[in-house]
């Protein structure tokens, strides 16, 4: 009964996955990690090419030249585009990772139930072995009365040997099921640790995104101030003349 419910859960999970895969609505679309990764790389290259020589370019432009502020704005926009693409990628990776963890949790749940059932099956095999041995003992007595039963006795002995082997295999199988449960528990813990690490990395990445925006805002302010100072200086020089 427990096993049946496990199977049902698995079936439901697979059904959901299948339905999910077939649903074309945007909120249910499976994210294409490779495409998102390519976008991040592209945005990064765009930003890096603008950012790496910003100071050098700015040094060759007069403070009030519109190109000065435009250059800062351009690199700021490229930075935000890069970090937004990275956030999209992070969200997609995290979503996929969390789904994996949920699936492994379901697996652990099913395996715990299966281990209990494997124990019961081991007992079943032991009971079947005892019953067959009893049959064999009884037939041994009957063979003394009817020699025609000898061939049947040989067959029954072979079956008893098979059941002994099966009981040993059931023992081994129950042992394997028992040992699989702690393995899966450990695996679930590892999945959860990975998820926690991903969450922290995403939070750190978002913090970095805010800092980059803060820096470019400060850089823009400086560019505007440089222009203002230059204009004040020029008007003061004209006044003196």
């Amino acid at each position: 009964m427990e096993r049946s419910s496990g199977v049902l859960i698995c079936a439901a999970l697979f059904a959901c996955t299948a339905a999910h895969a077939q649903d074309p609505s945007p909120q249910n679309a499976v994210p294409d990690l490779a495409a998102l990764e390519q976008t991040v790389q592209k945005r990064h290259a765009e930003w890096e090419s603008l950012a790496k020589d910003l100071s050098e370019r700015m040094s060759r432009i007069l403070p009030c030249d519109p190109r000065a502020l435009a250059a800062v704005n351009e690199v700021s926009r490229a930075s935000e585009a890069r970090l937004a693409a990275l956030a999209d990628y992070f969200r997609a990776v995290s979503g996929k990772a969390f789904n994996e963890t949920a699936a492994v949790r379901v697996l652990l749940n099913a395996e715990e139930k299966r281990a209990v059932e494997a124990g019961l099956e081991r007992n079943d095999a032991g009971q079947e072995q005892t019953a067959a041995e009893t049959q064999s003992d009884a037939l041994a007595q009957s063979v003394k009365q009817r020699t025609s039963l000898e061939e049947s006795k040989k067959l029954l002995d072979q079956i008893v040997a098979m059941i002994r082997q099966r009981a040993a295999a059931a023992e081994q199988h129950a042992g394997a099921a028992d040992s699989a449960v702690p393995l899966l528990r450990d695996l679930v813990a590892k999945f959860e640790a990975r998820d926690a690490a991903l969450r922290e990395e995403f939070a750190a990445s978002e913090a970095e995104r805010a800092r980059w925006n803060g820096y470019y805002a400060a850089r823009r302010t400086r560019a505007q101030l440089e222009c203002t100072i230059t204009q004040i200086g020029a008007s003061q020089s004209k006044g003196k003349q």
Binding site: M1, R3, G6, C10, E37, Q41, H44, E48, A51, L86, Y89, F90, V93, A97, V104, L107, A110, E111, R114, E117, L120, Q135, A138, L139, Q141, S142, K144, Q145, R146, S148, L149, L155, L156, I159, R166, A169, H173, A176, A177, A180, L183, L184, L187, K190, A193, R194, A197, E200, E201, S205, A207, E208, R211, Y215, A217, A218, T221, R222, E226, I232
Partner: protein, 357 residues
């Protein structure tokens, strides 16, 4: 016809073994144990009753083995699904997306701003002081940015470590599940061999009891031939219990070819290798059909040495025909095939599987 008959049998057997849970095979096991109680003990002295018990035990054992194998197959499928789920590497964050160049760029900007601030440190000009304050704010922003980049790099390293540890655990667990799947596959093979062995055993046991109970052959005082009586050549090699008894068409999941029965009751009797009996059936008619849905006949004949037994039948209105009885895939199943001479508004043939009452 043979192909359709084969399909009929396979589908019917599949229906019987459709249950896969442990409860199903335990139930079948309990039935088997009840049916075979004291059979081996009584085999030394028993007769026809023990032969019938051996036949029933064989059927019960076959039912148990079939449900057990179905259960094992279901378990093997589950194990295979688990193995597949663990086969794929876990999702990980691509490390190349936050290259070290980002940190280098921020550090370079910080150095430039810091140098510029130092250059204006002693300038008393008000405008330059304003610019220096602005640069100072920029330096603070860059310093904070550098800190967050380093913090983010640490979290990236932590994620990489967590993912590596996860991968190691996943590979180890997947290997354990791979072993489970192969163990179950082997168990299925062994169980199938065991099932065949039980069927063989019960048949041999029934034969051995029959041989012991057979009337002694006429004594030939001139020769020293062995006194053990061989089984009569005309006696079917398949135990008589596979044919003799009361049989019925199941109310659910009945299997038929051609005219579909609503109900069938069959009685088969045996005496000294001679069979007789009767069949009463009611068949479903196609919409608008005007034929008589009831088929009733008696039959008789001698049991032959082949599994398929052929008898002559006579319907209630005196039409002759042929009846075939064929042992089904399990001990409690019997395939029936009848055909009569043509009759107006009467069903003249039928093919279906009956279950022993």
């Amino acid at each position: 016809m043979k192909y359709s008959r084969f399909l009929l049998l396979v589908c019917f057997a599949a229906g019987l073994i459709g249950q896969t849970g442990r409860d199903a095979y335990r139930q079948a096991y309990d039935v088997w144990q009840q049916v075979q109680t004291n059979l081996e003990r009584d085999a030394g002295t028993g007769g026809a009753a023990q032969v019938a018990q051996a036949d029933k035990s064989g059927a019960a054992a076959a039912s148990f083995e079939a449900t057990r194998v179905a259960h094992l197959k279901s378990s093997a499928q589950d194990a295979e699904q688990r193995r597949r789920l663990l086969q794929n590497p876990a999702t990980s964050f691509s490390p190349g997306l936050t290259p070290p160049a980002v940190e280098a760029l921020a550090a370079s900007e910080l150095q430039t701003v810091t140098r510029t601030i130092a250059r204006f440190a002693t300038d008393k000009d008000r405008a330059i002081q304003q610019l220096r304050q602005s640069l100072e704010r920029e330096r603070v922003a860059l310093a904070a940015l550098s800190d967050t980049i380093q913090a983010r790099q640490k979290t990236s390293e932590a994620t990489a470590e967590a993912t590596a540890a996860l991968e190691q655990a996943r590979i180890k667990t997947a290997a354990a599940f791979g072993d489970q799947a192969s163990q179950l596959s082997q168990a299925i093979t062994e169980m199938e061999i065991e099932g065949a062995a039980w069927a063989d055993y019960y048949e041999k046991l029934a034969q051995a009891i029959q041989v012991a109970n057979a009337p002694p052959p006429p004594v030939n005082i001139t020769t020293n031939v062995p006194t053990a009586a061989p089984r009569n050549d005309s006696t079917p090699r398949v135990p008589l219990a596979r044919y003799v008894g009361a049989w019925t068409y199941p109310t659910v999941n009945g299997m038929s070819h051609g005219a579909q029965p609503e109900s069938v009751e069959l009685e088969v009797h045996e005496q000294n290798g001679h069979a007789d009996g009767s069949l009463l059936g009611r068949f479903k008619l196609s919409p608008g059909g005007t034929a008589d849905p009831v088929v009733r006949f008696t039959f008789q004949g001698d049991f032959g040495a082949t599994p398929t037994q052929k008898f002559t039948l006579v319907t209630s209105d005196g039409t002759p025909g042929i009846l075939e009885l064929i042992p089904g895939p399990a001990f409690n199943l019997l395939e029936v095939n009848f055909q009569t001479d043509p009759r107006t508004n009467k069903i003249r043939s039928g093919n279906f599987i009956l279950v022993k009452k």
